[in-house]
């Protein structure tokens, strides 16, 4: 064994002290990753778990899709105009959320607040459109306890809606934090997580838009 093995410890801040070429932190021999990477990485893992939870609701929807129990089917219920408006609003909010990230990068309090406010208003519009759709269904006697199909529909889409609502609460808290504490490092990391969450909800919506609304609006004879 040569000398490197004799070195028992070293200060991580100084790097591996000449015994090896400098390494990337967080990978292999490089020592712990920086905080920003750890926070982002952990949140990605959370998002993966969240997507798995959604996939369970998607699976339940697929299994129960035809279990209408004599009640209304997807084809009779869905109004694609409402869905189109919801999709447009949500995708626009993703754009403004991206603008907020840029504003945070430039440390602009004014534009951060404006971009987040617009994001929040668009998100709120999305929720209101969803509530209007849901109350419309219930008024037509197509509430979640009407049939297994409607139970799974309300749960899947409603779970996404609850996620967006929680994200709105988070967004308001984020705005207050930026306002009160400024662009402090830990708050910027939280904002990183928030924007990841917001974009992930968009991706889930794209799946709902396609698999629930577009497929559901097809005439029954076209479905397998």
């Amino acid at each position: 064994m040569s000398t490197p093995a004799l070195r028992l410890a070293h200060d991580p801040a100084l790097g591996p002290a000449g015994i090896a070429p400098p390494q990337v932190t967080g990978r292999g021999a490089g020592g712990p990753a920086p905080k920003r990477i750890i926070v982002g990485y952990g949140f990605w893992i959370f998002l993966l778990s969240d997507v798995i939870m959604f996939s369970a609701f998607f699976a339940a929807y697929a299994v129960l899709f035809k279990s209408t129990d004599g009640g209304p089917s997807a084809h009779e219920l869905f109004d694609l105009r409402n869905t189109a408006a919801q999709t447009a609003v949500l995708l626009a909010s993703t754009f403004t959320c991206g603008m907020a990230s840029l504003a945070v990068g430039h440390r602009s309090q004014k534009w951060t607040q404006i971009a987040l406010l617009v994001t929040g208003l668009l998100g709120l519009t999305f929720i209101l459109l969803e509530v209007r759709e849901f109350t419309g269904f219930v008024a037509r006697g197509a509430g979640p306890s009407r049939s297994a199909f409607l139970s799974s529909f309300f749960t899947l889409v409603g779970c996404h809606g609850i996620h967006v609502s929680v994200a709105l609460l988070w967004l308001g808290t984020m705005m207050a934090q930026f306002y009160a504490k400024g662009f402090r490092q830990d708050i910027r990391y939280r904002f990183l997580c928030f924007s990841l969450f917001w974009h992930a909800l968009d991706i889930v919506w794209v799946a709902i838009f396609n698999l629930v609304y577009l497929v559901g609006s097809l005439p029954p004879e076209l479905l397998p």
Binding site: L8, G26, I38, S145, T155, R190
Partner: protein, 667 residues
């Protein structure tokens, strides 16, 4: 005002739960009074309840698991004695109470004994073995623990306020639907498991991030200890499987609370979808439990054989193979559903294939022992007991994986014997091995070996006496969960099984005695070197118990067995070869009451959801949000340990090690 809650919820007419509940409440009150009188409360609050240190949290997890083991074991004793008495008789437990007991036994043993115990060991040992100072998200770790404790508390509240589920450890619909289970029992189950399940999911996320992103310099994947590998595999399975549990329980909750039709008989619901969903979580769950136990055995066997683990790389491949296969076999829990011969055959073969990587592991442990000078300490005895017992459980598992055999043995006591065989022989022996092995690291003194070995023999003999008869009566056609029976050929076997349960009780009594004796005699049992077993991985490189920051400077890893190679070098040169490092101040996260407050609010919210006290639900949720905001608003999240303090602690550690080295050289 109080929803469904009224005085009828307290079972005044049932003396057993009422007396048991009264004893628990009195014991808790006495404990609190004693703590307050001794003035320990501020210490407990400061050093434990609000601690975000992974070692403290790990110890609290193990403590919770130990207490819940006692609770679950009392249920087991009641069941065994009921079946010993209920031949041509009613026994002493009425059916509705007996049903609650087997449901509570399974729920507690899996969710609040086995899970907290393995998570506790992972929490304690994994960051130390990686050579780092804490997990990725220390405060989240504390929240996870307290949420698990909140779930455990809810299950135990059900003992005296209301009732627990009578639907088994997994609430199969349609029995668990409101039509057939109108009481609050299933609701207790749902909210307790939902709350603790969220805690477990957060733990999984925390551990995956820690292992993949926070390791000491030089700690490449191939140099990670096997325990860290199995922790990684188990945590990945947690992240993949627990969200399915959350979703499934949410669906059943909606069925019960809002008249949805996921699993009902009416409205087009599909009860078999529950089976698929719950077992898509449930089967991976058993690997979440047993993989960390495999990791403990790998550490213990290698240490007490004084050899590197045989086939390290094949061990890693086998671990990750099990990690993936565990998610592909869930259907073998309901072959009798009638999915057809093709589907059953695919899942049967997939289930049998898991025996291959598991067999690889068994051979690796055996070959590590081959030719070694084995030290038969208590931890090693648990490991050997595991190898023998677990193989038996594995073989009956392969037998059950054959759909044809499963059709005969489904829901029989043969199956009950099988899963107790793998859970006790695998997980419980594993956590006891880990408890014995890491106890000196956690508390700075070793446990009494003689009592530990006696406890092991009681457990081993008791296990065989209690469960081998169940294989026999299972083959003779006895189904599980029978409150009484009239078949004379089963009776003697069930008497033997009851005797076995009482032999295990002796084992538990010996373990409590061991703890008592060891604490009383701790002055003579001190581990002064931090390395009582001549260990090989990094947790033995620091003091026992380790300082808050674990390592004064992060170790530089150069081999598969980092601490062993450090010792080899030092022994070869008969001196500590490193010069004293330059100490710098260390920042550690500040304590936080967030976890405790969140759990308190979770208990309040869960309890009021169970009893339909809606205003309190809203209050609890608002409180939870306020807690998060308060946490987010903190300005000082870390405290600094000055360099002089770090130096003082580390110099003492180096002096003790140098002394041990001199002693070793003269030996």
């Amino acid at each position: 005002m109080l929803g469904k809650l009224n005085w009828q919820a307290i079972p005044f007419d049932q003396p057993i739960p009422l007396a048991a509940g009264a004893v628990v409440v009195l014991a808790l009150a006495a404990l609190l009074v004693w703590l307050a009188a001794k003035g320990y409360m501020p210490y407990l609050w400061r050093e434990w309840i609000t601690s975000v240190d992974h070692k403290r949290i790990g110890i609290m997890y193990c403590l919770l698991a130990g207490v819940m083991l006692l609770r679950g074991f009392i249920d087991a004793l009641m069941m065994r004695s009921q079946q010993a008495l209920a031949f041509h008789a009613a026994g002493y437990l009425p059916p509705e109470h007996y049903n609650q007991i087997f449901s509570a036994h399974g729920t507690i043993m899996i969710f609040f004994m086995a899970m907290p115990f393995v998570i506790g060991l992972m929490n304690f040992a994994m960051p130390l073995q990686l050579g780092v100072r804490d997990v990725a998200f220390p405060t989240l770790n504390s929240v996870s623990f307290w949420l698990t404790a909140a779930g455990a508390l809810l299950v135990n509240i059900s003992l005296v306020v209301g009732e627990f589920a009578r639907t088994g450890w997994l609430p199969f619909p349609p029995l668990s639907e409101l039509t057939y289970s109108p009481g609050v029992g299933v609701d207790y189950y749902l909210w307790a498991i939902q709350i603790s399940g969220i805690g477990t999911l957060m733990t999984g996320i925390n551990f995956v991030t820690t292992i993949l992103k926070i390791r000491a310099p030089g700690m490449t994947y191939r140099r990670m200890s096997i325990f860290c590998w199995t922790t990684l595999a188990a945590s990945l399975v947690i992240v993949a499987a627990f969200p399915i549990l959350t979703a499934t329980l949410a669906m059943l909750t909606l069925d019960r609370y809002s008249g949805f039709h996921f699993f009902t008989n009416e409205g087009g619901g599909n009860a078999m979808m529950f089976m698929n969903l719950i077992w898509a979580w449930g089967h991976p769950e058993v690997y979440i439990l047993v993989l960390p136990a495999f990791g403990v055995f790998s550490e213990v066997v290698s240490t007490f054989c004084g050899k590197p683990l045989f086939g390290r790389r094949s061990m890693i491949v086998a671990t990750m193979g099990i990690c993936i296969l565990s998610l592909c076999v869930w259907l073998h829990h309901f072959f009798t559903m009638g999915a057809g011969a093709d589907v059953n055959a695919v899942f049967g073969i997939a289930s049998m294939i898991i025996a291959v990587p598991t067999g690889v592991k068994i051979y690796n442990w055996l070959f590590t022992m081959y030719g070694a000078r084995v030290r038969f300490s208590a931890a090693m005895l648990w490991s050997i007991g595991f190898m023998v017992t677990f193989i038996l459980g594995g073989v009956t598992g392969v037998l059950l994986a054959s759909p044809a055999a499963d059709f005969v043995l489904h829901e029989s006591l043969f199956q009950v014997a099988h899963f107790h065989n793998v859970i006790i022989g695998g997980v419980v022996f594993g956590v006891f091995a880990g408890y014995t092995y890491w106890f000196p690291k956690a508390f700075g003194f070793v446990l009494d070996e003689r009592l530990g070995k006696a406890a092991f023999w009681c457990w081993l003999i008791g296990f065989y006496l209690a469960f081998m008869p169940l294989y026999v009566v299972g083959l003779e056609g006895m189904t599980r969960r029978m409150q009484h029976y009239d078949r004379p050929e089963w009776y003697p076997w069930l008497l033997v099984a009851a005797v076995g349960a009482f032999v295990i009780l002796c084992g538990i009594a010996l373990q409590i005695a061991q703890l008592w004796v060891s604490i009383r005699g701790r002055a003579q049992r001190r581990d002064l070197t931090g390395d009582p077993w001549d260990g090989r991985s990094l947790e033995w490189a620091t003091t026992s118990p380790p300082p808050m920051f674990n390592f004064a400077v992060l170790p530089d890893v150069v081999s598969d067995e980092p601490y062993w190679s450090i010792k080899q070098q030092a022994r070869a040169q008969a001196q500590l070869v490193t010069p004293e490092p330059e100490y710098t101040s260390i920042e550690v996260p500040r304590n936080s009451a967030t976890g405790f407050v969140t759990a308190f609010l979770a208990v309040v919210t869960g309890f009021s959801l169970i009893w339909h006290i809606w205003w309190l639900v809203i209050l609890g949720l608002v409180g939870a949000y306020a807690t998060f905001v308060a946490f987010a608003w903190r300005d000082h999240t870390e405290i600094e340990i000055p360099a002089e303090e770090v130096a003082r602690i580390d110099r003492a550690n180096r002096a003790a090690r140098a002394a041990a080295l001199r002693e070793g050289a003269t030996r």
